[in-house]
Amino acid sequence: MANQYRLYRSLTRLYPSSFRREYRDDLVQHFADLAADRGLRAAWIRSGLDLAITVPRYHLERLMTEPHSNIALNIAGGLLVAGGLATTLIDSWVGLVLLAAGLGLMATQRSALARALRVPDSSRRRDRLRTAAVLAGIFVTSYATFLLTVGDTWSSSDTILALVGTPAMFGAVGFLLAGLLTPRGPASDPLADPAC
């Protein structure tokens, strides 16, 4: 039995360090209670499934909410810039998009806007992600229409599609980043008295 507890205890190493530091003893105690109450097999089934689901989830949450997200976003921005530069050699259009996305991400990361975006507010986060989805839909629709209708010569409808699709694409990326940078959290009460 002690071996099983030790094994579960060592598996809790998979959790982010902040969560592990705070709750490791509680997790192992909980596992021991489960084993004592319902048997070792039931304890493993429940705790193992839980482990498989919560380990990636808590790591993702940590990346999005803790200061570590700065590192992750910088790495993502750097990779996009590097990928963009490399891809420019093969396909200038895709390369430029990647390059712009990477530079945009890195600039957003450092700006005052980025700090403002990080105010926890679940409803704003939802709104920003929803706007990103709508803009992405507009971009995909206009790009698909462009591909289906494109001819040998550049027509006025191609210009219209480009004028609609391009801002929609950059807008979708911008709102997606803004939404992802906004941590989940309660919105402030607009009716509350700040002096209280």
Binding site: Y15, D26, R46, L49, T54, V55, P186, D189, P194
Partner: protein, 116 residues
């Protein structure tokens, strides 16, 4: 600091609401919360250890629950941590219960018009 508005927490994730409802019965430790959640949901909601403590952490971080410094039962394991609802937690729990009650009313009206 501006106090958060209870409805800004809604809709609550299912796990958070179950834990808050359990804590309305009184202060409990983690394992007792899990047992109570299972019992109150007729075994439908089964929380694993990390789901439970992740939920508790979120509730504590948001100010909806707090860890007790004292242990309510003297004969209990001293290592166990007990949790209790805060005032904000009670208001949020009540607001979520009202929201769900309204939803249930609509569902019943739509599904069984004659019985509503």
């Amino acid at each position: 600091m501006v106090p958060p508005y209870p409805t800004s927490f809604l809709p609550l994730p299912q796990a958070q609401f179950h834990v808050l409802v359990t804590l309305t019965h009184g202060d409990r430790h983690g394992y007792a919360i899990m047992q109570a959640v299972e019992e109150s949901s007729d075994g439908v909601v089964r929380m694993g250890p990390a789901t439970l403590y992740g939920t508790l952490k979120r509730l504590v971080d948001q100010g909806l629950a707090q860890e007790l410094a004292r242990r309510p039962a003297t004969d209990d394991d001293a290592r166990r941590r007990y949790y209790q609802l805060t005032g904000l937690g009670q208001r949020v729990c009540a607001a979520e219960a009202d929201r769900l009650a309204r939803l249930v009313r609509v569902a019943r009206t739509n599904l069984r018009p004659g019985l509503a």
